[in-house]
């Protein structure tokens, strides 16, 4: 029965996302969970849950129903589509890598050290989550644009301008995706027992060695979960990208931008493009989810 399986899958994804500690449960206990859940679900919980699920799935279903299946091959074989898709994948992956490089240390700092104003720093880190992406784009322009407070020095000293470049897309995507990684990794770090690290340091390892050899393997599933969330967020980024990096096919036109502009005069193409983005997202999310679940 599909309607019985899907809430389980969704619940697993949620548990595996921000709280991978739960996902690392051993096989039997998870199976037990599932059995318990199947037996006595109170109706006041089941109904809203199914309603919520239907609400999330309905728009996706609508895309499938309204997709121009007959002309789909024509819509999708154009060079622009592949260009946009490739650019989307490259930029989202690059942004995720940048997030990993700066996000994991940032999360460690927030979870393992105590400094004045840490609460404020944490709030600021999550700001891009609630900020309208367009505002993020404007802020990036004012900071890193050719005339921005930092950007003007980048321009005059190194001749680097970020707006209207592929690097600009990566910058915009990193900005919106970074909080997802930091929150996820910080949560995992808080759930992980610091005594392992302490034991390592008392045995003579330096703080950094302990981090590298003990902490990092311990929180790997959390990092993977955060990376996938960040990647997915980067892939879907629209507002900050179009504001900061503009729209030029092959250079800054990612899939979401292509979808938006196609919608202006060719809704069928927009639906077709949405379908591609949807397929790629689901494929990667599903694939990577299994991978990080089995690493534990």
């Amino acid at each position: 029965m599909t309607s019985g399986d899907e809430p389980d899958a969704a619940a697993d994804t949620l548990a595996g996302g921000p709280r991978p500690g739960r996902a690392r449960k051993t096989g039997p206990s998870r199976r037990q969970d599932r059995r318990l859940r199947g037996r006595g679900v109170p109706l006041p919980l089941l109904l809203p849950a199914l309603l919520g699920l239907a609400f999330l799935l309905l728009p996706l279903l609508a895309i499938l129903v309204r997709a121009p299946w007959s002309t789909l091959p024509d819509q999708l074989t154009s060079a622009e589509v592949w260009q946009a898709l490739r650019l989307s994948l490259v930029c989202a992956t690059s942004a995720t890598l940048v997030c990993l490089v700066v996000g994991v240390p940032l999360a460690w700092l927030l979870a393992r050290t105590d400094f004045p104003g840490r609460g404020l720093v944490r709030a600021l880190v999550t700001l891009p989550l609630v900020l309208p992406p367009v505002v993020g784009g404007v802020a990036l322009l004012l900071a890193l644009g050719r005339n921005g407070i930092v950007g003007q020095w980048l321009d005059s000293w190194f001749g680097i301008t970020l707006p209207f470049t592929t690097t600009g897309v990566v910058v915009a995507e990193t900005f919106v995706a970074l909080p997802f990684l930091v929150i996820s990794v910080e949560g995992t770090l808080r759930a992980a027992d610091p005594r392992y690290e302490e034991a390592a340091t008392t045995l003579g390892a330096s703080r950094f060695t302990a981090f590298r050899r003990v902490t990092l393997p311990l929180i790997a599933p959390g990092i993977a979960a955060g990376a996938v969330l960040a990647w997915a967020r980067a892939l879907g980024e629209f507002g900050a990208t179009i504001t900061f990096a503009g729209n030029f096919p092959g250079r800054t036109q990612t899939m979401p931008l292509a979808v938006y502009l196609a919608l202006q005069n060719n809704p069928e193409a927009a639906i077709a493009l949405s379908l591609v983005l949807l397929t790629v997202s689901i494929a990667v999310l599903a694939g990577l989810r299994d991978r990080w679940m089995t690493t534990s």
Binding site: P132, P133, V134, V135, V138, L141, L142, G145, R146, N147, P163, F164, F238, G239, I242, T243, A245, G246, N247, F248, P249, T252, Q253, Y260, L261, A262, L263, Q264, N265, N266, P267
Partner: protein, 269 residues
């Protein structure tokens, strides 16, 4: 939502943020009819007129809206400004609107093809393209051809929106090939890139250059005569407040309305 947020932000720079935020909010809520228990006679117009209008009409229509409210106490005009295509799509999608003013006949046709307009749309103004450059025109742009110079960062509107289609027409007419750094999704965001000095020039409407004040400098070019956009306005079939909507359209077409529009840089039809 993204659009209205950006729009609100842009105008914040222009200094009318509070006002715009107000219109943006109220425009999303069409059921907000200010039917106060005022002892008004039955012949008088009342209620909210919801106007969907092209982004380039923002400044002049906001002025006309206030004028209309003053002349017809008890009425309220709310606007939804945006790309004509997006607006047309929401109207055919069932958005409750009274009036649609589009930046091109093509976008108006989206609405009339679906038989969502009452009567025939009328062209009420025309708009011509102009080059917007940085203040003082430091790159000494004097013609459309100058924009093809290498090293110059130019933004155009995307071909899917009216200003981009017009720009392309002008370029084609003069056999010029121009590679911009970006194809922007509407005329206002193209202009914003120049206002923020991220781009050196943009091809936008005359009216936008005028509305931007001294933040950009306008350069006229003769090829723009080949790409003049007609702006049609129409009463919508399912208008919740047809009587007041009709009166608003009359105001736009009246001598007074035309004066406000030509003051903003629009051409007479």
């Amino acid at each position: 939502m993204t659009r209205s947020a950006r729009r609100t932000l842009r105008t914040a720079g222009a200094g009318t943020a509070a006002l715009l935020a107000l219109t943006a909010c109220s425009s999303s809520d069409s059921s907000d009819t200010k039917s106060a228990p005022a002892p008004s006679s039955s012949a008088k117009l009342s209620g909210t007129v919801t106007v969907f209008a092209a982004a380039s009409l923002q400044e002049s229509f906001t002025t006309l809206g206030k004028e209309f409210e003053k002349e017809n106490p008890g009425t309220k005009v709310t606007f939804n400004f945006g790309g004509s295509d997006t607006l047309a799509a929401s109207i055919t999608g069932g958005a409750p609107a009274d009036v649609f003013a589009a930046a091109s006949p093509k976008t108006m046709a989206i609405v009339t093809d679906k038989k969502d307009a009452a009567g025939t749309p009328a062209t009420f103004v025309r708009n011509q393209l102009e080059i917007a450059t940085l203040p003082g025109n430091p790159d000494e742009v004097s013609s459309l051809k100058d924009l093809t110079r290498s090293g110059l960062k130019v933004v155009l509107c995307d071909r899917t929106v009216p200003c981009g289609a017009a720009a392309q027409k002008a370029l084609d007419a003069s056999n010029l090939k121009l590679t911009p750094v970006s194809y922007e999704q509407d005329v206002k965001s193209a202009l914003t890139k120049v206002e923020l000095k991220e781009a050196d020039a943009a091809v936008v409407y005359k009216t936008d250059v005028k509305a931007a004040g001294d933040k950009v400098e306008g350069v006229e070019f003769p090829e723009s005569a080949n790409a003049v956009n007609d702006y049609p306005i129409a009463l919508l079939k399912n208008a919740p407040n047809a009587a007041a909507a009709q009166a608003f359209i009359q105001l736009v077409k009246s001598a007074e309305g035309q004066k406000a529009l030509s003051g903003a840089g629009f051409l007479k039809p």
